[in-house]
């Protein structure tokens, strides 16, 4: 039984106005245990579609996706997801939003268990437990979404451009936080982004996709120590290599 995520998709099609449109063909990659993988590709190349397949929201494809040796056939708590928008439940406090992911969630309180408070501390939300989502900034909201995705201690954390809607300052700060969280929790992670800087800063492995029909154009193994120096020579060099592949 192999650990980690193994994706092998022969073909995925969409039917658009009666015509079949091929999204990807021959996408194969693996993510090892505790590895932070980044999926990088031009906008519209099918990154989000790929995440939906791994989440089990869409089973209509040719191929297999296995997590820790088990075939994925539907949504499950072994995978946590952070969407591009925080998607917090407006009528639940920060604490309840995180606890909502637990299978035994109760609306009547009693959700302040150890795991929830651990994540509140981990994601830097202490003091905001009882705030309403609309009182939070974009960055804070996304922290709650990350905590919610981690509360069940998933085998795989999926993130769909989680920092895409944030200003550049908050984004860089949350990138550092994500690196720290991954370092502390060592959960296998797959993050989708179109930001090369982000990919090189966070990824142990960078998978670059081509424009549609999407294929993998190159996989970079990132051999830089963390925390990474964004202006260091190796960083800048790798960054321009990735950019070159992306622009091919």
């Amino acid at each position: 039984m192999s650990k980690g995520l193994a994706v092998s998709i022969e073909r995925k099609k969409f039917i658009v106005n009666g015509d079949s449109l091929e999204v990807f063909s021959g996408i194969r990659f693996e993510i090892g245990p505790s590895e932070f993988a980044v999926l990088l590709g031009p906008s519209g190349c099918g990154k989000t579609t790929l995440l939906r397949l791994i989440l089990g929201l869409d089973n209509d494809y040719e191929g297999t996706i296995e997590l820790d040796g088990r075939l994925i056939s539907g949504p499950g708590l072994d995978r946590g997801i952070v969407f591009q928008e925080p998607r917090l439940i407006p009528w639940m406090s920060v604490q309840d939003n995180i606890a909502f992911a637990l299978p035994h969630f109760k609306s009547t309180g009693g959700n302040d268990d150890d795991q929830v408070s651990h994540l509140i501390t981990l994601t830097g939300l202490s003091g905001f437990e009882n705030a309403w989502p609309n009182q939070l900034s974009g960055g804070m909201s996304q922290r709650v979404a990350i905590a919610r995705a981690l509360v069940n201690v998933p085998n795989l954390l999926l993130m769909d451009e989680p920092l895409g809607a944030l200003d550049s300052h908050t984004r860089m700060r949350l990138q550092r936080e994500l690196a720290r969280i991954h370092d502390q929790e060592s959960i296998t992670t797959l993050m989708v982004t179109h930001d090369v800087d982000e990919a090189v800063f966070l990824g142990d492995k960078i998978i670059v996709l081509t424009d549609r029909v999407a294929e993998i154009s190159k996989v970079f193994a990132v051999d830089l120590s963390k925390p990474r120096d964004r202006v260091g020579r190796a960083f800048v060099q790798l960054r321009s290599q990735v950019l070159a592949v992306l622009n091919e």
């Binding site: 929201l57 949504p75 708590l77 997801i81 969407f83 439940i89 407006p90 009528w91 299978p103 969630f105």
Partner: protein
């Protein structure tokens, strides 16, 4: 007016509430004065219309001898039972139809073809079936409550944010949990504005029912006073109805503000 100016004037209003309220009092005061004068000068004969001063005296009298309370209690009881039953049924079927395609196919066409029948048109049928007792009045209010709440509830459920439903799906929540934590709370604002409309309709229908067939309740009190040329009693009854109607609406507004306290809306910056 722009938002900023509106907010500024609201702030000024808080600082000098006296000026704000004294301004609002002018028009009613003038109207009352005109009315008093019209009766005193026999412009309106006192057998047809009572002067405000007489009404005040009568109001105190009717409160003291408890007859106002007696009739108010009868009416409030009818409203409460009818409203509770009607809104519960409306919300129940609205949720069912909003959440399930099977329920939609099964009952929605029937419900939608009954809703357009105005409440008042039900009165004769209800009297034939249930007689002139409490049941016919309560079921009239119930039918109207059901009709008014069904559509906003089903709409509130159907227009819940797809992204949030997807979150529940990804988290493996059951249909019951999704309903309880996502769909139903999404429908709360439209359910509560539906309840306010229902309450207004409930008072109107109850008064109509009390006029047609009753020997107690505020509607009967007003109509009886008119029949026996007691214009002071008639207006006392009307004022009581106004106060009670305003009270029930106020309760619903408080409830709505409490249940939707998680959000910031236009009214939070405008003080409307």
């Amino acid at each position: 007016m722009t938002c900023a100016r509106r907010a500024a004037s609201a702030r000024a209003g808080w600082r000098i509430p006296l000026q704000r309220y004294s301004l609002s009092v002018i028009v009613p005061f003038l109207l009352l004065l005109l009315w008093e004068a019209a009766v005193r000068t026999d412009f309106f004969p006192s057998t047809l219309l009572a002067a405000p001063s007489e009404v005040v005296v009568k109001f105190v009298e009717r409160t003291a001898d408890l007859s106002l309370f007696k009739h108010a209690l009868v009416s409030v009881r009818r409203i409460t039972i009818g409203f509770a039953l009607g809104t519960s049924l409306g919300i129940f079927f609205g949720v069912l139809v909003g959440a399930s395609r099977f329920a939609t196919r099964l009952v929605e066409p029937t419900i939608l073809s009954l809703i357009p029948i105005p409440g008042i048109a039900w009165i004769p049928l209800l009297i034939i079936v249930f007689g002139i007792g409490e049941v016919s009045k309560i079921s009239l209010i119930m039918i109207s409550g059901f009709s008014t709440l069904f559509i906003p509830t089903a709409y509130g459920i159907r227009t819940a944010d797809k992204n949030l439903v997807e979150v529940a799906l990804v988290l493996g929540k059951s249909q019951i949990s999704t309903l309880r934590y996502i769909l139903l709370p999404s429908a709360v604002p439209s359910i509560l504005s539906g309840m306010r409309v229902t309450m207004v309709a409930a008072w109107t229908l109850m008064i109509s029912a009390e006029i047609v067939a009753s020997s107690e309740g505020l509607g009967w009190f007003v109509w009886d006073a008119r029949r026996f040329s007691r214009p002071d009693d008639m207006i006392v009854g009307m004022i009581s109805l106004g106060i009670l109607g305003k009270s029930t609406d106020y309760l619903l507004v408080r409830l709505e503000r409490y249940l939707t306290r998680y959000r910031q809306t236009y009214r939070d910056i405008t003080d409307v």
